[in-house]
């Protein structure tokens, strides 16, 4: 066993180094710079310890943007799971091999174009003269277009869910492949109905996939900006937009402080979720 350690270590060294240099180091730089001081003379930061940037998060409603971003991320992730789980179930358990392949391919179609175009196209669908309003008016259900369909939180959610849905669906599919069909047949033989099999076997066994899907969507939304800028109301904001605003006036420590707070939240979610649901099980380890 010990003799195999050196080659294993050698193989691990490169990815470990990559993670440290490309992932961990920049994050540490962000955290350290967040407590340095911006110097208007040099237009850069100097290493004077200062927590002023963290205090500034509590001003001008910046903390509200962080909270509302996390709220949007949570809601989008939950909606994606609500849509993605039955979709993944249908693709894996109900559709035949050919149909499931077609459905999977269809899920990737939106990614053939840029995220900018995808978001922009929702303006043409949800706008005053857009497809939805036109249809409702044509059917006689409305006499005037609905304004809240576009430039609203509703529109932002629609855009975010449309963008993120496949990122929830694919981990769910992966987790469903780990459900042994023999278990379901056995449960059925023992008299368990559809909902019982679902709630006692499928859902618990797909929990790592549910959490992975949740995490992917959550993180994507926290880092997004296009949907909010294209579909949100006047001055709608999200963390990335706020960081851009702050960078525009060269307030780097504040931008890094906001990033650090968001990083802390995301790491906490990952660690808590992993401890509870075991992400590793998604890839075959610790299968119950």
């Amino acid at each position: 066993m010990n003799r195999r350690l050196p080659p294993a270590f050698a193989l691990m060294a490169l990815p470990l180094l990559a993670i440290l240099v490309l992932g961990f180091l920049p994050l540490m730089v962000v955290v350290v710079w967040s407590v340095w001081t911006w110097d208007p003379l040099t237009y850069w930061i100097r290493p004077d310890f200062n927590l002023g940037s963290y205090a500034a998060i509590l001003e001008a409603g910046r903390w509200m943007v962080i909270v509302s971003t996390l709220g949007k991320a949570l809601l989008t992730a939950l909606i994606c799971l609500l849509i993605g789980w039955p979709t993944a179930y249908a693709v894996h358990f109900l559709a035949g091999r050919r149909l499931s392949l077609i459905l999977l391919a269809l899920m990737t179609v939106p990614f053939f174009t840029s995220y900018l175009i995808r978001s922009f196209s929702w303006r043409l669908v949800l706008g005053r003269t857009g497809v939805v309003n036109d249809l409702l008016i044509h059917l006689g259900l409305l006499s005037a277009p609905l304004d809240w369909l576009l430039f609203s939180n509703f529109a932002v959610l629609v855009g975010l869910v449309a963008s993120c849905l496949p990122f929830a669906t694919f981990p769910l599919l992966l987790s469903m492949r780990r459900v042994d069909p023999v278990l379901l047949v056995a449960a059925e033989d023992l008299g368990a109905g559809f909902w019982t099999r679902l709630s006692t076997i499928v859902v618990p066994l797909t929990m790592p996939g549910i959490f992975a899907g949740f995490l992917f969507v959550f993180v994507m939304v926290v880092g997004s900006s296009t949907e909010v800028q294209m579909l949100g109301g006047a001055g709608a904001s999200i963390v990335s937009v706020m960081i851009n605003d702050v960078m525009r006036v060269a307030n780097y420590p504040l931008a890094f402080a906001i990033s650090s707070v968001v990083l802390l939240v995301i790491f906490s979610v990952v660690l808590a979720g992993n401890a509870r649901f075991g992400l590793a099980r998604l890839f075959g380890e610790g299968q119950s």
């Binding site: 040099t42 237009y43 850069w44 001003e59 001008a60 409603g61 910046r62 509200m64 943007v65 922009f120 303006r123 043409l124 706008g127 005053r128 003269t129 857009g130 304004d147 576009l150 430039f151 800028q229 294209m230 949100g232 109301g233 006047a234 001055g235 709608a236 904001s237 937009v241 706020m242 605003d245 702050v246 960078m247 525009r248 006036v249 060269a250 307030n251």
Partner: protein, 391 residues
């Protein structure tokens, strides 16, 4: 001897820099030219070059080759992203002065750049075409600092309100943006650099509020302006704050708004799509903006200031103005454009060049407040903008 050594060292430094830029931006093209055996000849005959770091819309693409043959200086154009915050940071704390000789920036940051020492003054005696610049453009408040000429007005225009006369009749005031009858049918830009000055102009001129310079608001003036905007935002006045060309056009073309502050080319695009759209001449005045050309300190360090002066003189010589007017509707504020078009009628229509100049001149004949991308309280502007976003 010293001079020769300096020149040789500057040339070597310049060559390394250009090599780097070529590798980054045009390596493929360089290789293909070399493959055709064209490189050695091109290098032997090539004019002096200047690295021009400017807003993307100032690029005239393939026309730079014609410009180089006329002026004797070949610009190497690099987009600076237009946002003056990162531009300033890269100049002050980054490598921009290592890479670029001349900058084309939104007006207003000259004071800050001169204070930082990242730009150096122009020598107007080496820019004979400067005399041809229209006086009101020479009077842009940001061009001179401490009695020295730090920037040259290269592109100018003035913005106001885009509106639909079929819905609103004739509009001649920014008051339309804050009119309660138009609740949810108006928009402004998602940038304090424009929306704060438009609002300040309205409050100063039509509401007689105590505002001295709408382009450079004091702390109390800024509070007054932003509280006014916040109140209207809370009341649901604005349909959205828009961002970028496509979004601006879409708001008008899809009838999302009846009036919005914005850029005149959006009016032309709306008309192309068959809409009745007009550009207002507000009683409060226009928001004038200039994209000014500055000489970067690095050009001085490398000894390429003569080439930089020749380049800027070339920008004012006519070809650049005609091409920029034709491709983007932008104006270089000099009569040299019309003179050039008259000499080259097959290339540019003199009457069109004249019409563009007259149109912009007419705007500047009235009241104009200059856009300022770096007001004294710029970090406070951002703080207030956050409050507005979260209101």
């Amino acid at each position: 001897m010293t001079g020769d050594r300096h020149s040789a060292s500057a040339a070597a430094s310049n060559f390394k820099r250009r090599q780097l830029l070529q590798l980054m931006a045009g390596g493929g093209a360089a290789f293909s030219m070399a493959g055709l055996g064209a490189m050695p000849r091109a290098m032997a005959q090539s004019p002096a070059s200047v690295a021009f770091w400017a807003t993307a819309t100032l690029d005239i693409g393939e026309k730079w080759a014609q410009f180089a043959s006329q002026v004797g200086v070949a610009p190497e154009f690099t987009d600076n992203g237009n946002d003056v915050g990162p531009v300033l940071a890269r100049l002050a704390a980054g490598n921009a002065n290592e890479l670029f000789d001349v900058g084309g920036f939104q007006g207003g940051a000259e004071k800050e750049m001169a204070r930082q020492g990242v730009i150096i003054p122009w020598d107007l005696s080496k820019i004979p075409n400067y005399e041809s610049i229209w006086q009101w453009a020479k009077d842009i408040p940001y061009l001179r600092q401490n009695g020295k000429q730090y920037s040259i007005p290269t592109v100018v225009n003035a913005d106001s309100i885009i509106y639909r006369p079929d819905k609103l009749g004739k509009v001649d005031s920014y008051g339309v943006i804050f009119d309660k009858k138009l609740k949810g049918r108006v928009a402004m830009e998602d940038a304090w650099i424009n929306s704060a000055i438009f609002t300040a102009m309205y409050l100063k001129e039509s509401e007689n509020k105590p505002i001295k310079d709408p382009g450079n608001l004091s702390e109390s003036e800024l509070g007054l302006v932003m509280e006014f905007l916040i109140k209207h935002k809370k009341d649901g006045q604005f349909r959205t704050f828009w961002n970028g060309w496509e979004q601006g056009v879409q708001l008008v073309a899809d009838q999302e708004v009846d009036a919005m502050t914005g850029w005149e080319p959006i009016v032309y695009e709306g008309r192309k799509r068959g809409l009745q759209v007009e550009y207002a001449a507000p009683v409060e005045g226009y928001e004038g903006w200039g994209n000014n050309t500055v000489l970067l300190k690095g050009a001085g360090d490398r000894g390429v200031t003569d080439a930089a002066h020749t380049f800027v003189n070339g920008l004012l010589a006519g070809l650049y103005g005609c091409e920029l007017g034709k491709s983007r509707g932008y104006l270089v504020p000099t009569d040299n454009n019309v003179a050039y078009a008259k000499k080259n009628p097959s290339e540019y229509k003199p009457e069109e060049v004249q019409a563009l100049g007259d149109h912009v001149k007419a705007k500047f004949a009235g009241k104009v407040y200059w856009q300022n991308c770096r007001p004294d309280n710029f970090q406070l502007y951002e703080e207030w903008w956050q409050k507005l976003r979260n209101a």
